[in-house]
Subunit: 109 residues, 2 copies
Amino acid sequence: MPTEIISKEQKKMARYAKAMGHPIRLYVLELLSKQSCCYSGDLSEVLPIVKSTLSQHLKELKDAGLIQGEIEAPRIKYCLNKENWKEAQELFTRFFQQPIKITDCKTNI
Amino acid sequence: MPTEIISKEQKKMARYAKAMGHPIRLYVLELLSKQSCCYSGDLSEVLPIVKSTLSQHLKELKDAGLIQGEIEAPRIKYCLNKENWKEAQELFTRFFQQPIKITDCKTNI
DNA sequence: TCCTTTGTTCGTAATTTCACGAACTACGAA
DNA sequence: TTCGTAGTTCGTGAAATTACGAACAAAGGA
């Protein structure tokens, strides 16, 4: 059994980062971290994409585990997935809070 | 001129997040934040990908502005891009440090 | 029951990503 | 000048991403 070079945490974090790697999705996450929940329709009104595309982005956030939905007929209420959001928070905070040893390159090829 | 819904900061952050959205690239970034610099050859020895693929990943990190290279013939020394790393650090830290109002969904559709 | 609202799913298309091997470039050493 | 090392670039292909509109499903209200 070879030692895994890429850790489980790195894989998890990459998964979260990937989900965050689109302005629309980042917007949704930031909104949800500020106002606790929202509806797809509200987003659809302000965002410059059609609702089916928005639905796809929401699905990606759901698949990554960052948000979750709840039926509130006829709408669906979205909010952050508490547990995974906390994990992402920890992973990213740890990642960026490491004491960094930067040897600046003089040139930039 | 319509008010931009997606902010410049969100776009920048999404760009960084996208670059971080692959385990290999996250591994490289984490290594560089720990040991100040590295060479492509060192990475190639431990990572389970061929060097041309690694080169592509390094290029993506370069294009995103997170790392930079310096010729140290016959090799190339890579290190973090100090300025942009700091920016990413700030963006992500702020993003995750916001006081969060989570209304947990009971169900998860 | 039929209509309206809300949102998802499907089909499609263009683009990007990810990976590989082969070919190429740059440069120091023999 | 020729060779070897280090790394990038090119060509390729498979898969994923991003976006759209049309069609569909669910559920409350007329």
